[in-house]
Structures are given as structure tokens and as C-alpha cells.
């Protein structure tokens, strides 16, 4: 039976431009006008893994994203890489969602789209970087999850062994489909789309669902469905001494050692 594979993809600001982003202290919303966007890099590894599994076992790969209308761009990128279908969940009701509400929304859509065998996600997004959506999505779908995955070895179509990284080592996890897997960069080298791939992907139809079409309880969506809230910005507490040593270089070196001794660190 062909596999139904879903990949969750997210559009994030380009990491080289992070320092230009600011938070509006009044509204708590992110100011990112004029900053170029990219598909979250780890999501590309997730798409690549999905495509490789499809090549091995035959099946369908659907890329799904929750975001503003501009997020259509990452679905086009996913098309260019070779996914079969792209779905954008776009509605103002979804705005302000934390990871729980995001996972809930994605789960509603995936369930509505039909059977699912494997859900793939990047381990975390380069903005936010909580790494929470994957496991929470798995909970809502009622399937097992494995994170920090650097290798997937399939033993038959529905059984696999995952290698998942831990600090200074790894675990081997045996599992059966359906399951959710979040991947790290080292799992594969994702493909670059060719010109031909791009020509058929640019402007390709993306299934766009609003709140009604996605389904689910309104109270579980967006800001309303988010148990966590942004409560403002924190001023950094620095009660440092800020003593700048003066004198010749030799004098400075001597003073520095004296101070370090006075501080009790040497």
C-alpha cells in the first residue's frame, strides 16, 4: 500500500537578517517587514527524507504549512523539491498560536486530508526553536514520535529503526508506522531543485484552507487556543563592575592578575 507522508514546513525570516528583527513592546508582535524569508532549513531535510522514502516505497508526499498568505512560497519550494501536494492553512484566527495551538491546527488538517502513515518535521525552527510542535502534533494524532533523528532505516514498509542523537551519543529506537519523526541536519543532504523543477513549481496551485475548512474547535486555535502568552520584553539585569584597566600593557596585565586573585577565581 503506498505511504501517505506529510511534511510540516514553516516559513522563517532569513537567519542572516535576524538582528534586524524587533519586537513591538506595545503589541508584543514581531516587526519583520522587508526581511527576506526562507523555508526553515531543517524542514528542507525533512522534505528530502520524505522524498527518499517515497522513492523507496511509493506513496504521496504532502507538504503542509500554517502561516500567512506569503507562506505559499515555501510550499512552492516544496513543490520544486518534488512533493505531490501543498496545503496552506491560512486564517487570521490562526494568528498568535503557540506550539500547542499550532500542533492542534496541523493535526486537524492532517486528519481531514485522510490517512497518514508518516509525519516528518524539522527538529526545530530557526526562529523560536522550541522543537515542540513535532511531539505535540504526534500527541494530537495519537501516534508515537521520535525527535533528534539522524538516521531512519526501514525494515519493511511499516517498520523502522531510528537513530536519535543525545548529548555525547545516540539511542536506537524501533517503531512502526504511523509515527511522527523530527529530523536533524545530518540525516541527509537535501536536493537542489533544477530549473525544470522550478518552472513547474512556481505559481503552482496550493490548496489553501481557512478556519472552517481546516476544522477543529475555535477555542483551540490561534491566540485563544494558546496557553502561553507573550508578556513583554525583559530588560537585562547587569550589575557588573565594568572596571576598565588603565596603564601600560605590562601594568594592565599585572593589575588583571591581581584583580582575578581578589575575585577569588585564581
Amino acid at each position: 500500500m503506498p505511504l501517505e507522508i506529510f511534511v510540516c514546513v514553516k516559513q522563517t525570516p532569513h537567519p542572516e537578517h535576524f538582528s534586524k528583527i524587533s519586537l513591538d513592546p506595545a503589541t508584543g508582535s514581531i516587526q519583520r517587514a522587508g526581511i527576506p524569508s526562507v523555508m526553515n532549513p531543517l524542514d528542507k531535510n525533512a522534505v528530502e527524507e520524505a522524498l527518499r522514502i517515497r522513492e523507496k516505497f511509493s506513496g504521496k508526499v504532502t507538504a503542509i504549512s500554517m502561516g500567512p498568505p506569503q507562506a505559499k512560497e515555501v510550499l512552492e519550494e516544496a513543490y520544486a523539491m518534488g512533493v505531490d501536494e501543498g496545503v496552506l492553512l491560512c486564517d487570521s484566527t490562526f494568528a498568535g498560536a503557540d506550539t500547542l495551538a499550532t500542533a492542534y491546527t496541523l493535526a486537524q488538517a492532517i486528519q481531514k486530508l485522510g490517512r497518514f502513515d508518516l509525519i516528518l518535521c524539522g527538529n526545530e525552527s530557526i526562529d523560536g526553536a522550541t522543537g515542540q510542535v513535532g511531539p505535540q502534533l504526534a500527541e494530537f494524532l495519537g501516534i508515537p514520535h521520535i525527535t533528534y533523528v539522524t538516521r531512519l532505516e526501514f525494515q519493511g514498509e511499516r517498520e523502522a529503526l531510528a537513530t536519535r542523537e543525545i548529548e555525547y551519543g545516540y539511542l536506537k529506537v524501533k517503531f512502526r508506522l504511523p509515527a511522527a519523526v523530527t529530523v536533524l541536519k545530518s540525516i541527509n543532504q537535501y536536493r537542489l531543485p533544477t530549473v525544470m523543477d522550478i518552472m513547474q513549481a512556481a505559481g503552482k496551485e496550493v490548496k489553501t484552507w481557512n478556519c472552517e475548512e481546516t476544522g477543529g474547535e475555535k477555542t483551540c486555535l490561534g491566540l485563544e487556543g494558546s496557553p502561553t502568552r507573550v508578556a513583554g520584553l525583559v530588560a537585562l539585569q547587569t550589575k557588573r563592575k565594568r572596571e576598565i584597566l588603565k596603564g601600560s600593557e605590562e601594568e594592565i596585565a599585572r593589575m588583571a592578575v591581581k584583580r582575578l586573585h581578589e575575585y577569588g577565581v585564581i
Partner: protein
């Protein structure tokens, strides 16, 4: 006027940029070593990504994405490694000649193989007497039945020692004829690498192609006998020239980027270098040069995509290469100045870019010939 790129063009730019930065960038140093092997993997990879077929008809294995896509691809690659940009430009010349003037048999025989990167071609017009003054060429072929016997020597030919097919324009009694000369034909000899100062030549090695009593069948004539000037000039002026503009744009742009980055990180008198107004003005001038080069390059490409013919765009193609080339020279020089003591340090890559810019003054249409073209158009 809509100056925005289509989504497809943006995506192609992003793809080529990623290819250049991730796959080519790390190898630039090893590619640039003296006496290096031709990097065939770049030909294969560019073909795989569809970069060779950008202006080749779909019917023959190309993707027809167009001239603007080609300009973007050459620009992005040249920002990282101009020598590969030069090769990408070069790989498109013979296919173009065949596309506009070749027979159906020639198209079927050669174009799909070019698109797949199975073979590569080089345009060969320059002789010892001149690159631009074709009138100075001696008569070098005569007819023998249905065949042609050719005796000539072409010099300064890109990738002479590695190309499989040469699009060669040769002077005859009744005018010029373009031939497709395959390297393996008896009487064809390639060799004598010129050692030019630029890294442009290291992976795009220049050499001679000499034909000695080379018997060439009628099937290899591109277009009509005696009517070769047209195809040759279109190839050089329409596609070769704009390709050269793309290389220069990439060099001007990347030199500017290097100077900007340095000026942010380098601290002098307790502040970033660009805090000095004189320096910021230099950067401003560089920025304007890059922007103008872009506009000329993208405009001519857009016009080409609109279906304008070579003869209609002589002025625009000339302007694009002329301006981009001088921008490359100026920007690399200024960047070296801005980097102070580090200006000529190899790890910043400016010396390589400077050398490329100097090479590009004469290559792909000598700047002064292009000036003449623009001047002629101005007073016409």
C-alpha cells in the same frame, strides 16, 4: 513598469546561489591551483540543474526558461567563482549558434547532448591577426566536391583542449562560413595553453585549435556557405556579450559585498571603518555601479526574452557588457583600497577578482569596440 522578478526567476536565483555557495565555494581554492584538471563535475552538475538548457528549445532537451534566467545564473555563479561563470557562458555559445542557424539534423545530433552535459562546445573565431577585425583573416578553406578542406589556426579559444565541438567561423573566397568541427576529426589539433594572468583561464583553459587539411563534410556547415558572418556575429554579440556582462556583474557585486562586510567588522579609531565618510562614499559609488550594471543586464535580458533580434539589441548588449566590465574593474580596485593591508591577501579573494576584471576588458567583446557600437548607435 514592473521591475520585479517572477517567482520562478527568484527561485532560480536562490537555487543557483545555494549551488554556488555550498558546492562551488568550498572548492574555489583547489580549482584555482596552477595546472589544474578541468572540473568535469561542474559541467555535469550545471547540466543536471538545467543551467545549460536555459535558452535551448524544449524540443531539443532544453528548458527555454530564457535569457533573464541565464543572466541571473551567470551572475550568481560569477559572484563566487568567475571562472565557472565564464564556462557557463561558454557552454551556451555553440548551442545557440546551432539553434539559430543550424540544420534539423545538427539540432537533433548536438543539442540534447549539450543540454545533458555529455559534450561541450567552444566558439572559435579569433585568429592570430585579430579577434575583432574579421576582415584581416586569410582565406582558409576551399571546396572539394561536397566537402570542404580547411587549413587554419584559431587562437585564444576557451577550453580548446577539452571541448568536443567547435563552432568555427572560417573565411573562404566567397565570404565566411560557420562549421561545426568535432575534435576527433582527422586534421584537428588542439593545444598550446595560454597562461593568462587570470583565474578566469585556469578552469577555462585557453588554447589553439589548428586544422591541417581537415576534410569537413557539408553536413557540418551551419547555415549556408558564405553566410557565416550572421550566425557568428549573433552568437558573439547577442549571447556571448551578455554572458560576459553577467560575469562582470558578478565580479562587481561580490567585490562590493566583500568591501561592505569588511568595513562593518574592521574597527579603526574605536569605530567601524565605514564610519569614515570618505569610505562610505566609496561604498556608495560602488553600490551605484552595481545597481546600474544590474539594470542594464536585466533590461537587455528582458528584451531578449521579449523576442528582440540580435541586430535590434546591438546597442543594449554593448552597453551592458561595457558598463559592467568597467564597474568590475572599478569595484575590485576600490575594494582592494578599502581593505587596506588586507586588500591583496588571497583569503579575501579580491586579487582573483581584479585579475578577472582585467581579463574581461578585452574578452566577450573588447570594451572599446563596444564603445564604438554605442557611439555609432548614438549618432545614427
Amino acid at each position: 513598469m514592473d521591475f520585479s522578478f517572477s517567482r520562478a526567476h527568484e527561485m532560480v536565483r536562490n537555487m543557483v546561489r545555494e549551488y554556488a555557495e555550498k558546492e562551488v565555494g568550498p572548492k574555489v581554492e583547489s580549482y584555482s591551483q596552477e595546472g589544474d584538471e578541468f572540473p568535469y563535475e561542474t559541467l555535469k552538475r550545471c547540466a543536471e540543474l538545467g543551467l545549460i538548457g536555459l535558452i535551448i528549445p524544449k524540443k531539443y532537451g532544453g528548458n527555454e526558461m530564457g535569457y533573464l534566467a541565464r543572466m541571473i545564473a551567470i551572475e550568481e555563479i560569477s559572484k563566487v567563482y568567475a571562472s565557472l561563470g565564464a564556462n557557463l557562458r561558454g557552454w551556451g555559445l555553440v548551442p545557440y549558434m546551432i539553434t539559430v542557424a543550424g540544420t534539423e539534423e545538427q539540432k537533433q545530433k548536438y543539442l540534447p547532448a549539450f543540454c545533458k552535459g555529455e559534450i561541450q562546445g567552444s566558439i572559435a573565431t579569433t585568429e592570430a591577426t585579430s579577434g575583432s577585425d574579421f576582415g584581416s583573416f586569410p582565406v582558409s578553406y576551399k571546396k572539394d566536391g561536397d566537402d570542404y578542406i580547411i587549413n587554419c589556426r584559431k587562437v585564444m579559444i576557451s577550453r580548446a583542449t577539452v571541448s568536443d565541438v567547435f563552432g568555427m567561423m572560417v573565411r573562404g573566397e566567397k565570404g565566411y562560413t560557420c562549421f561545426l568541427i568535432e575534435k576527433r576529426m582527422p586534421g584537428v589539433q588542439t593545444g598550446h595553453r595560454e597562461k593568462l594572468i587570470s583565474t578566469l583561464s585556469r578552469n577555462s583553459p585557453l588554447g589553439d585549435v589548428a586544422l591541417t587539411n581537415c576534410r569537413v563534410p557539408k553536413s557540418q556547415v551551419v547555415g549556408e556557405e558564405g553566410k557565416g558572418l550572421g550566425p557568428a556575429l549573433s552568437t558573439i554579440g547577442f549571447v556571448g556579450r551578455t554572458g560576459g556582462a553577467g560575469i562582470c556583474l558578478g565580479v562587481a557585486e561580490s567585490s562590493f559585498d566583500i568591501a561592505v562586510k569588511y568595513s562593518k567588522e574592521r574597527i579603526v579609531y574605536g569605530k567601524p571603518l565605514h564610519d569614515l565618510q570618505s569610505l562610505k562614499f566609496m561604498l556608495a559609488d560602488m553600490a551605484v555601479r552595481v545597481e546600474c550594471s544590474k539594470l542594464l543586464c536585466y533590461q537587455v535580458s528582458w528584451l531578449q526574452d521579449q523576442g528582440k533580434k540580435p541586430v535590434e539589441l546591438n546597442r543594449e548588449t554593448s552597453m551592458s557588457k561595457l558598463f559592467a566590465s568597467e564597474s568590475a574593474v572599478n569595484n575590485t580596485l576600490k575594494a582592494i583600497e578599502i581593505l587596506g593591508g588586507y586588500g591583496t591577501a588571497p583569503e579575501f579573494g579580491l586579487i582573483q577578482r581584479m585579475k578577472t576584471a582585467l581579463d574581461m576588458i578585452a574578452a566577450a567583446g573588447s570594451n572599446n569596440v563596444l564603445r564604438r557600437n554605442v557611439g555609432d548607435a548614438a549618432v545614427a
